[in-house]
Amino acid sequence: MSYEAPASDHGDHDSPYEGLFGGDSDHWAFGTDFDDPLAGIEAAIPDGADPRALAQYCLMLGDDALVLSHRLSQWCGRAPELELDIALANIALDLLGQARLLLARAASADPSVVPPLPGSSDGLPSPVPAEDALAFFRDDRAYRNAWLAEAPNGDFGQTVARILLFATARLALLERLRASRDAVLAAVAAKGVRELAYHRDFAARWFVTLAQGTEESRGRVTAGLAEVWRHHDELFRAHPVERELAGAGVAVDPADVAGEADAALATVLAASDLPWPRVPQAGQLGGRSGRDGAHTEALSPLLAEMQSVARAHPRGRW
């Protein structure tokens, strides 16, 4: 279809409609185009890796990114400064991009993880892509994210502390995951490392600024750190799926990167003149935690909001 703007003598800036229906995609934000995000990457399952375990592992990494991205997007239009609004949206967009790749990989490794959706009466399949079926039609018990990702935002100090902890752990993990025998995970990790290095840097700079700023900001960021630190240990506790795939050279055992991550955190705390937090860790539910599909009270309201429009139109096209 084409539409020509009315002829105009108003000069070169006066025809913004020219490309309205056209194919120029130079300005599309990452992840907003129609291309298959995994196009061109070897999608075979590596020898010796259980596809079902690989799918679960991708959901763990993908859900961490999806749920924290959602939390950060709640800051949009509310940040303390315009520059911070933009920075938090950047981080949310990066994590959303990682989540999409990982959910798509989970679906391709094991299609049975994708929730079934109603087909139409004339037998046509659901128009909902797998990544969206996983994000919008999966119940909270099937989410595999760590509790740190789902906790409420708190104030800006708590949000900075959360990004610091999350990005430090995930960066250490993805640095090693670049060597995964799964080509998709290796590619996602290579892209993610660059992004997370920025997230960690952003959070570390703001953490030190708040800790060394005013009395009030020091109090707030210290309290925020104590709040999120309750979920520190869960980040480094290996789930059996992670251990199994780590043994196959596909995943990284998070326990193996704890020392490295803690060393980076210690550097930031030292620059902030703050002690290593001594706070009780959030307990598990009968030995189960986020990686097992057991969650805090915060997740289901988050998903209820996030999934509301998609679930109201299960055969909708967006």
């Binding site: 229906f21 997007s73 303390p80 315009l82 933009i86 991009g97 969206d132 060394q212 096209r317």
Partner: protein, 359 residues
């Protein structure tokens, strides 16, 4: 995002809104501030400076920050650019309200990136204002105090996901019609900011239109949602061009100064002519029984917006006026401690650096 420069709304800093009502005279209306500022200052301005300014405008060249300019020109620009900047920031809210409910991950990424762009547009425009001597902090205070305006379109609610598409298509579309001529506005930094903003806005418009196109290929409920959304936004979008030229008292001087390049009615007509074929391609009906092609004028005839609604929204009686300002005030107040901390930390760092230099 909708960088809505609505010349008229933007105009009167202290003008009583009723002025904008076509054909209505308001007793005791306030004199627009820019006409009061210049007299004495301009009397003092050396004649050759004034002549040079006028000659620059006359040959279509740009005025730059270090050039001499009449105080009234400066005040008009600050008011218009600030209103535009505020519109970008307030304009983050209606669509931002849907980020957490975007129905696909791709749409969520598009919407988040778009709202983020609006914050970026606000930044460029506040920077352009700073070249005229008005700081972002000062302008933000004026916005929060209700002493500077933003585009009235953002006082309408976004009530369904189709509104995200309609705001892109119609609101950003109207904003582009208003703003494209501003790329050649007489003040250099404003014109250059507008070039960048217009490129991004046209991209947002395309995304909005593409969302609506996709929804029209979806379910019957989705098509109804699109039509309902277009019904709500059509007339407010036409109002974004301001009142008819005959009732737009400040337009003539802004045109003479080369700040504004086209009349409200001309831009509104251009918008209607561009939009009607797009609506046909989309498969929606624009809610105006008077809309028809006029072969003689080679343009569409269309109905008159309800200007009493326009002036009501302008004087604060729109559906969301109070909500929009309250949201911004709350975000600003909640972030005060962070801005203070950043200043304090920068101060300590500077002291430490200075101390090191003396060692």
């Amino acid at each position: 995002m909708p960088g809505k420069t609505v010349p008229e709304e933007a105009a009167p800093g202290k003008t009583v809104p009723e002025e904008a009502v076509p054909g209505k005279t308001v007793p005791g209306k306030t004199v627009p501030e820019e006409t009061t500022v210049p007299e004495e200052t301009q009397a003092a301005a050396p004649g050759d400076l004034q002549e040079h300014f006028e000659a620059t405008i006359a040959r279509g060249a740009r005025i730059e920050p270090r050039d001499w300019m009449p105080d009234a020109y400066r005040a008009t620009l600050v008011r218009q650019i600030a209103q535009h900047a505020h519109s970008e920031i307030i304009g983050m809210q209606p669509e931002g309200n849907w980020i957490t409910r975007a129905p696909s991950l791709r749409r969520k990424a598009i919407l988040l990136a778009k709202v983020q762009d609006e914050a970026g547009h606000g930044l460029y425009l506040y920077s352009a204002c700073e070249t005229l001597g008005a700081s972002r902090e000062e302008l933000t205070s004026l916005l929060l105090a209700g002493r500077q305006k933003y585009s009235s379109i953002f006082n309408y609610p976004a009530l369904s996901y189709a509104d995200v598409g309609t705001i892109g298509w119609l609101v950003d579309g109207a904003a582009i019609c208003n703003q494209v001529p501003l790329c050649r506005t007489s003040y250099g930094p404003y014109g250059r900011a507008m070039i960048r903003i217009c490129k991004e806005e046209s991209f947002h418009q395309r995304q909005g239109y593409e969302l609506l196109m996709t929804m029209m290929r979806g379910t019957g409920e989705q098509r109804a949602m699109v039509q309902e959304s277009v019904n709500r936004f059509w007339w407010p979008s036409l109002m974004m061009f301001g009142p008819p030229d005959a009732d737009s008292p400040n337009s003539a001087r802004s045109m003479a100064w080369g700040i504004k390049r086209n009349g409200n009615d001309e831009l509104r007509q251009r918008f209607v002519d561009m939009t009607v074929p797009q609506a046909e391609a989309l498969g929606v009906t624009l809610p105006d029984p008077g809309l028809r092609w006029n072969a003689e004028r080679e343009s569409y005839d269309f109905g008159e917006p309800d200007w009493s609604e326009f002036t009501a929204v302008l004087r604060g009686e729109g559906p969301c006026n109070a909500q929009r300002l309250a949201h911004r005030r709350r975000a600003h107040a909640d972030g005060a401690w962070v801005r203070e901390a950043a200043l304090a930390f920068a101060g300590k760092t500077a002291l430490a650096t200075a101390g090191a230099d003396h060692d």
